[in-house]
Assembly symmetry: C2
Amino acid sequence: MDNFTFYAPTYFAFGKDTEQDTGKYVRRFGGSKVLVHFGGGSVIRSGLLDRVKKSLEAQGLAYVELGGVKPNPRSGLVYEGIELCRREGVDFVLAVGGGSTIDSAKAIAAGVVYDGDFWDFYQGKPVDNALPIGTVLTIAAAGSEGSPDSVITYEDGMYKRGASGEGLRPKFTILNPALTQTLPPYQTACGITDIMAHLYERYLTNTADVECTDRVIEALMLTMINEAPKVMADPNDYQARANILWAGMMAHNNCCGVGRTQDWASHDIEHELSAIYDCAHGAGLAVVMPAVFTYNMHHNVMRFAQAAVRVWGCEMDFEHPERTAKAGIDALRRFLVSIGMPVNFAQLGAKEEDIERMAQCACYGDARQGTIGGFVPLSKKDVENIYRLML
Amino acid sequence: MDNFTFYAPTYFAFGKDTEQDTGKYVRRFGGSKVLVHFGGGSVIRSGLLDRVKKSLEAQGLAYVELGGVKPNPRSGLVYEGIELCRREGVDFVLAVGGGSTIDSAKAIAAGVVYDGDFWDFYQGKPVDNALPIGTVLTIAAAGSEGSPDSVITYEDGMYKRGASGEGLRPKFTILNPALTQTLPPYQTACGITDIMAHLYERYLTNTADVECTDRVIEALMLTMINEAPKVMADPNDYQARANILWAGMMAHNNCCGVGRTQDWASHDIEHELSAIYDCAHGAGLAVVMPAVFTYNMHHNVMRFAQAAVRVWGCEMDFEHPERTAKAGIDALRRFLVSIGMPVNFAQLGAKEEDIERMAQCACYGDARQGTIGGFVPLSKKDVENIYRLML
């Protein structure tokens, strides 16, 4: 295990009706003038936005609103939000929605208190300071509700890049599983896939002796595998939604990723897909992960075999561990198909002729240094090969 | 899963030499005049106390010292510490040692800013405010380094009682696995047992649909079972020490105990033993746990069977699940014996003639209401029966 620091000072309020306390938590964490940031119509139609605004009003909190966040959130709205916050003297950013809304809120919160272009943070500058952020989460997926990370698509060139830093950890997060019950099955499945990816990205490490975090990652994967079929069969299964919601937070607040190298090749390779084709991030990951893992399997067969045995219930083939490793990747693919995820380029609307351009952008675009991935450093040629496995 | 809140804003610095940054963290979290609180000779002999004091001096931080914390820390030293802090204008309490030192430091930190008797907190008053606390941990065991809890023995009557509250969460904790390498095998094993107990106390729940936290608890138990033999065989196994240290924190910061009823009968029953006989808390728990679990097994056979299968590798007896449940408890007992823990009253120096008195004190002493335990409410008669199982 490597040296590390871990600091996750987000206050979580979990359970039924907890969104009614939003105003109370904004006040507790120092807000007086709030930007309420959200996406499209679902939080309006469901009445959630109204309930949240009422809880702000009940605390005597002033607020301004900025809706319109899209999946794969974009830089344009971030610039608009920064301007709005400065003009209105906002001192707290509240995201009501999913990972895209939270990531957009984080970018705004960081940008408001920064003299330069907020995009600097998405080119590697750590975010030490930002306006305080709160979140009311509506989908188990991105883990942004408990993480110090944000991903934004830069519209001039459609680059998708991530920022990170302690300033981006939400001060509080409201997790009401009932809010996720109205999600369509496809979005639910995309969220489940994203959570599985966050776990695999940490699992694929070159650090030895990481038993504790290995086991916790496996525990969270097992939770997802057990609970996912329940919510696919019955979207109103509150308890399964609750287990997925907490697992999704734990999968990405990094309590299970500390002290080890991590991979993130699948995310980097997927980001090109969702940036260009605007597919759902989770759907892209469903196509990308089996390809990346198949390509990288021989780098550490035993690690994939461990996942196969402990997580996917495969029997260990002691004579041919690589068969076990492969069986685990196959089991992951079957799981993703079972929840309705795509498996190839065609299903994403992706095109073979874009492969070279995407590999170029993944490896060299916007401050990248020629390789991606912490598990196996992947060159542009490798990334092209991996994209071809998805055809 | 029940509604819950979770807030664990402790900054963890984990790894080799991290104690050299103690002063930096004290300053970051607002300290200017520090109480350095510690126990006996080991932190002096090892040079740890000197290194910590040097790091305070390097930051220009003034400090006063209070040593002498004993295992099963006592109220007398707490009163002394409160007086000292007030007299010297201390604004930060730094614990250098194990769970006893941290718990004593927490009691002092709460008492300094409270007008009444600090013991009020150990009779149920939540600790909302306290001086900021930092810890440099020397043993994986109590989990106090990341928890909002503290246990103190009241010397007038030798009651052992717990306090809790957000004010007791350390602001930072230094976790250097190398500091735990010098622990004698018996203390190492006591710590391992305490960690296993923290996991079982949460595992034994009456809340349904807690897959996620069940799985994480099992993951941490599996970690302990895998890593414990390594440190017993080689106390200098840094990596095994590291895995145990992180697992011990996660076992008790409550990330795996949220949204579910918990038990704590084993702790309550053990506290009487260590209060009277001054045995090590972990050693007491090794004797208590199998007795409590055997007594309570029929309340929920399937829960014990689940632990047996998933954690202890027992085969499920589908016709006789109670046999599987019992096999899991037997496996726990064998594990505890394998690391050198006692199994009965005689080995603890405990006496049959004290059983009635201990059961009385556990169930009725000092603000108790007649029963203990969240899994099965245990009356005084039940507790007597359980003590008799340990003879």
